[in-house]
């Protein structure tokens, strides 16, 4: 029986080559695409879930309110929140606290700028990283001036030496004794640290009250709950504790704090809150790509169903004969399922080859690092087998039932209406396929339009031709003089136009977040949060900032040490409307008073995904975070300039690594994820459309073949080639056009959702839909025409003869 199934199935595949090729190719592309995307999605979903206690660990995410209005959503909340929660609730078994730190670390002659350092308390290592390669985690961070390194950090500083007990120097000043080495955090964790510094050191620096108060944000707090404890119940009990502890004080300034418990495994695909340890993944991108994966594989399944049922007429005779020969329905279903099994098997093999061939391309485009090791994971194979089984059964079953249900008499008498049979289902499925294609195509166009829009919008600040140096961390009391000397020398380097020092440059969120700022004399309830950027005298000019009122800081006014600039949003934040209104107003800023001497236009500090922030520019002439050099000339001339600048930097700031970047490159990096999403989306959308057209091609081939006789008759009745073409084309284009009607509202809705991610976004216009729709229409038309043109040109005398 099985061999009989097999020979007949194989013969059928060989006999109907177009049918087989279209199905196998379509299914293989669908499978390969779906598997690749699912692997990517699986990786994104796997973040932090590998931790042994992942299910019981929660991050305390904190929202700050001002007069009842949400002002800032922090990933790292206020200093005191962790201990308060830990102490109040027995179900909280431990607390991990982190505070982000940067600086230059050195050991002997090795020095590196470290950006992934944290002060971490005792609770951190047991919660997150119980394994060590050297030393022990117990008490590793309990004492002042101790540090824990990752394996690669240890190797970087100590090579093959044993690091335990050795001292690292922070900014050439503060020694830290290495107490343990832990494995490198894996790629799929949101907490990627190199070096952990002991919490008691931090407390020694800032004093104990500073780590328990409620007004200073930026402290990560992770809590581990007793297994089985309900986080929602806990979350509900926290406000009362906050109220008891800080309620009185907060009432005075009409402030408020609301905390949420974020499950560790959910952090990576949640929105980005203030001061995330690293930029989160894009939950919407993951969702959209999963949908594409489903679309592509579904489109391939639809092709199979469509082509099989379309072929049913050809096969009806075979079924009729088999039935009259006593074949029972079950055998027939078996036969057809077996064919589906065979086609899907070939497709699986081809899909695996495609994955092997396309993996590097996929990685490059999607910015992924999937490798062949996924072929050895159970999840990959269960996915593959799942797709295979669902495909075989789902796409095989319906045609099998349709074909096997033919009545032998009807079939043998040729009483099956040729084109109408199952054509409603086929049309519906084609409509579905093309609706999906339209969605993907319009989606691709929109993603690109949005990207293009963001990249070409005026930022309100000049970021080209800008070389940014990272300022020195290792310094002494002579820094101010050195900076002046350095500035003078750098300005003498050919190709350097200006140099300005600042605490921030455009390209990421301002880290200095200051609360409690208000107009002098105003009520305490008027205090607001602002993001503060420290700049020198030359910054605003060098960056081409636009003054709406007042003036820039000036060396001619000695009083400017007490001056600030506001941006438009800051003006609004303080409750004023016109820029002029705030000029010469004085503000309270952490116990000191400053005068507003100028107002600048809002500029895009971050990507256009983010809205404008309320910025205060404070005059800090000796800011040491960034030095921005405005260069003249072309990129080719810059290496020489950089070498010259480096020589000066090294001589003025010895002990500091010379690190630099180009500001426009850094700014553009914010769009890398969007760009990758766009490209990935585009490629898979293209594949989806390709597979849809494969199906349409097959369908057109079969249907025109079936209509040969009708076409002949029509030609004899006087139809021209044009008449026939338009007749056939109309029939094929109707479902395609219908699919547009269905797809457009859906697409509109989906894209609105996606664009809502962006503070500055394009608006959807009909034009965005017309282009892709016409393109799809043209592709579909071309596909169909290859078949219809042939049919329309056949000599009717021949086509009728074959009857």
């Amino acid at each position: 029986m099985l061999t009989n199934f097999f020979t007949i199935a194989l013969r059928n595949l060989l006999k109907h080559k177009i049918f087989s090729i279209i199905n196998i190719a379509g299914l293989a592309i669908g499978m390969a695409a779906a598997l690749l995307i699912f692997q990517y999605v699986r990786f994104e979903l796997s973040y932090d879930k590998f931790e042994a206690h992942a299910a019981d660990i929660y991050r305390i995410q904190m929202d700050r309110y001002n007069e009842g209005k949400l002002s800032t959503r922090w990933a790292a909340g206020t200093a005191g929140i962790g201990p308060v929660v830990k102490d109040a609730f027995p179900e909280v078994t431990s607390l991990a606290r982190l505070y982000d730190w940067r600086g230059v670390m050195s050991y002997q002659d090795k020095e590196f700028r470290e950006e992934n350092m944290y002060f971490a308390n005792d609770g951190f290592l047991p919660m997150f990283s119980s394994a060590t390669t050297q030393g022990s985690i117990t008490g590793a961070l309990s004492n002042v001036n101790t540090a824990v390194l990752t394996t690669s950090a240890a190797r970087k500083y100590f090579g093959s030496e044993n690091p335990i007990g050795k001292n690292l120097l922070l900014n050439k000043k503060e020694p830290f004794t290495v107490t343990a080495v832990v494995p490198d955090p894996p790629a799929n964790t949101h907490l990627k640290f190199n070096i952990l510094l002991s919490w008691p050191t931090w407390v020694k620096w800032v004093g104990d009250p500073m780590t328990t108060q409620w007004g200073w944000d930026g402290f990560f707090a992770y809590i581990q709950l007793r297994p089985g404890a309900d986080p929602h119940q806990l979350e509900k009990k926290i406000p009362a504790v906050i109220q008891a502890k800080w309620g009185e004080e907060m009432k005075k300034s009409k402030e408020g704090i609301v905390v949420h418990l974020q499950s560790l495994g959910n952090i990576h695909l949640s929105p980005n809150y203030m001061l995330e340890a690293e930029a989160n993944g894009d939950g919407k991108a993951v969702k959209f790509l999963s949908i594409i994966a489903l679309f592509i594989i579904a489109i391939a399944w639809i092709n199979y169903i469509n082509l099989s049922t379309a072929r049913s007429i050809e096969r009806a005779k075979e079924v009729g004969i088999r039935k009259t020969l006593g074949s029972i329905r079950r055998d027939l279903i078996g036969q057809f399922l077996f064919e589906s099994f065979l086609i899907n098997s070939f497709a699986v093999i081809l899909a695996l080859l495609l994955i092997l061939a396309c993996l590097p391309i996929f990685n490059a485009v999607a910015g992924q690092s999937l490798n062949l090791s996924m072929l050895s994971t159970a999840s990959f194979w269960s996915m593959l087998i799942g797709i295979f089984l669902v495909g075989t059964v789902l796409s095989g079953l319906y045609p099998a039932f349709v074909l096997s249900s033919f009545k032998p008499i009807a079939v043998l008498k040729g009483r099956l209406a040729t084109t109408s049979h199952g054509s409603l289902l086929r049309q519906t499925l084609v409509i579905g396929q093309f609706a999906a294609s339209v969605l993907l195509m319009v989606g691709t166009f929109t993603v690109y339009r949005q990207l293009n829009y963001m990249q070409h919008q005026d930022l309100g600040v000049q970021i080209t031709q800008t070389l940014v140096l990272k300022g020195p961390r290792v310094m002494d009391s002579t820094y101010d003089n050195k900076l002046t000397g350095f500035r003078d020398e750098v300005l003498r380097v050919p190709g350097v136009n200006s140099i300005s020092a600042s605490t921030e440059v455009p390209g990421h969120k301002v880290g200095w977040n200051a609360g409690g700022i208000k107009e002098v004399g105003a009520d305490a309830t008027k205090a607001r949060q602002y993001r503060v950027i420290g700049v020198d005298y030359d910054f605003a000019t060098a960056f081409g900032m636009h003054f709406l009122a007042g003036r820039n800081f000036s060396r001619d006014f000695r009083s400017d040490t007490g001056a600030v600039l506001f941006n438009e949003s800051a003006v609004k934040n303080m409750g004023f409307n016109k820029p002029e209104d705030v000029l010469n107003k004085r503000i309270d800023f952490w116990g000191k008073q400053y005068t507003i001497v100028g107002v600048v236009s809002n500029h895009h500090q971050e990507s256009l995904r983010e809205s404008y922030d309320a910025h205060i520019f404070r005059l800090i002439p000796d800011a040491n975070t960034y030095y921005s050099l405005k260069l003249t000339g072309s990129r080719d001339s810059w290496p020489a300039t950089i070498t010259a600048v480096k020589t000066q930097y090294k001589s003025f700031f010895p002990g500091n690594p010379f690190d630099y970047f180009f500001l426009d490159d850094r700014f553009a990096e914010q769009y890398k994820a969007d760009q990758q999403f766009g490209e990935t989306f585009g490629i898979f959308a293209g594949l989806a459309i390709f597979v849809s057209c494969l199906g349409l091609l097959g369908l057109a081939a079969f249907v025109t073949n079936q209509r040969t006789k009708e076409i002949g008759i029509r030609k004899i009745a006087g139809a021209s080639v044009g008449n026939i073409l338009s007749l056939l084309t109309r029939d094929f284009m109707r479902p395609v056009l219908l699919s547009f009607l269905i797809a457009i509202p859906l697409t509109w809705y989906a894209l609105e959702k996606w664009l809502d991610n962006y503070a500055f976004r394009i608006s959807l216009t009909p034009l965005l839909f017309i282009g892709p729709a016409l393109l799809i229409l043209a592709i579909a038309l071309l596909t169909v025409t290859t078949q219809t043109l042939k049919a329309a040109n056949t000599n009717p005398a021949r086509s009728l003869r074959t009857e």
């Binding site: 009483r415 209406a417 040729t418 084109t419 109408s420 006789k709 009708e710 002949g712 008759i713 029509r714 030609k715 004899i716 009745a717 006087g718 139809a719 021209s720 080639v721 008449n723 040109n793 000599n795 009717p796 005398a797 009728l800 003869r801 009857e803």
Partner: protein, 225 residues
């Protein structure tokens, strides 16, 4: 009306070359009713296809109303065909998905006749063929005789000057066959030229003249009246 001289048609397939028409010549005058007879495979259908401008000859001359059409391209042939020629086939060749009315309407659509006039002309011819009551039926729901009457209706709805019939009674019993032959005779009496291929001596007696063919050539011509 039709004058063919030394008409030639050869079919080439990969293995064989079949000479279907071998220097065939004859003439048909306007208003004539001619039968073409001969053994299977002697080239009758081939001849009819060429006369009907469905296919082009390899050689010889074909004058249609005095115009040389042997070398017409497909577009010109199609144009001439839809204005002047109606076809009737042994296997009816109706479109299963269209109703009787729609099948008959087809040639008028392709001639660009407007809706109301089309309706009137279709109804008139359906009436004449006594098939009006079946106008909304599909071909599958009709008997063979009825189907062939629809086919004849479709062939004549655009008032062609020439009707080409390839074994029109071949699939019909004798009474249905006679009915169709009567219809053709009526049409001929109203002035339509008819060329009919048939295997039936009985049917051939309805015509004025019989052309007998063998291996792509005319052998005899009998004049009946």
């Amino acid at each position: 009306m039709i004058k063919i001289t030394e008409l030639q048609k050869t079919y080439r397939t990969e293995e064989v070359e079949t000479i279907a028409l071998n220097k065939l010549s004859f003439e048909v005058k306007e208003g004539e009713f001619v039968s073409v007879m001969g053994p299977s495979g002697c080239g009758k259908s081939t001849l009819l296809n060429i006369l009907g401008l469905l296919d082009d000859p390899d050689g010889g001359s074909f004058l249609f109303n005095g115009i040389e059409v042997a070398h017409f391209n497909e577009r010109k042939r199609a144009d001439l065909r839809k204005r002047n020629i109606g076809f009737v086939f042994q296997s009816f060749n109706l479109i299963d998905e269209l109703t009787v009315f729609e099948n008959v309407e087809l040639p008028l659509i392709y001639l660009g006749v407007k809706g109301p006039e089309r309706k009137q002309r279709v109804e008139k011819v359906l009436d004449k063929m006594q098939i009006m009551h079946r106008r909304n039926h599909y071909p599958q729901q009709l008997s063979g005789g009825q189907q062939q009457r629809v086919a004849v209706a479709r062939a004549v709805v655009n008032n062609p000057k020439l009707i080409l019939a390839d074994e029109p009674t071949g699939n019909l019993d004798s009474s249905n066959g006679n009915e169709v032959m009567t219809l053709l005779t009526d049409l001929n009496e109203q002035g339509t030229t008819i060329i009919m291929v048939t295997h039936s001596e009985h049917d051939s007696r309805y015509s004025h003249r019989i052309i007998r063919m063998l291996d792509g050539q005319t052998v005899t011509e009998n004049i009946l009246i």
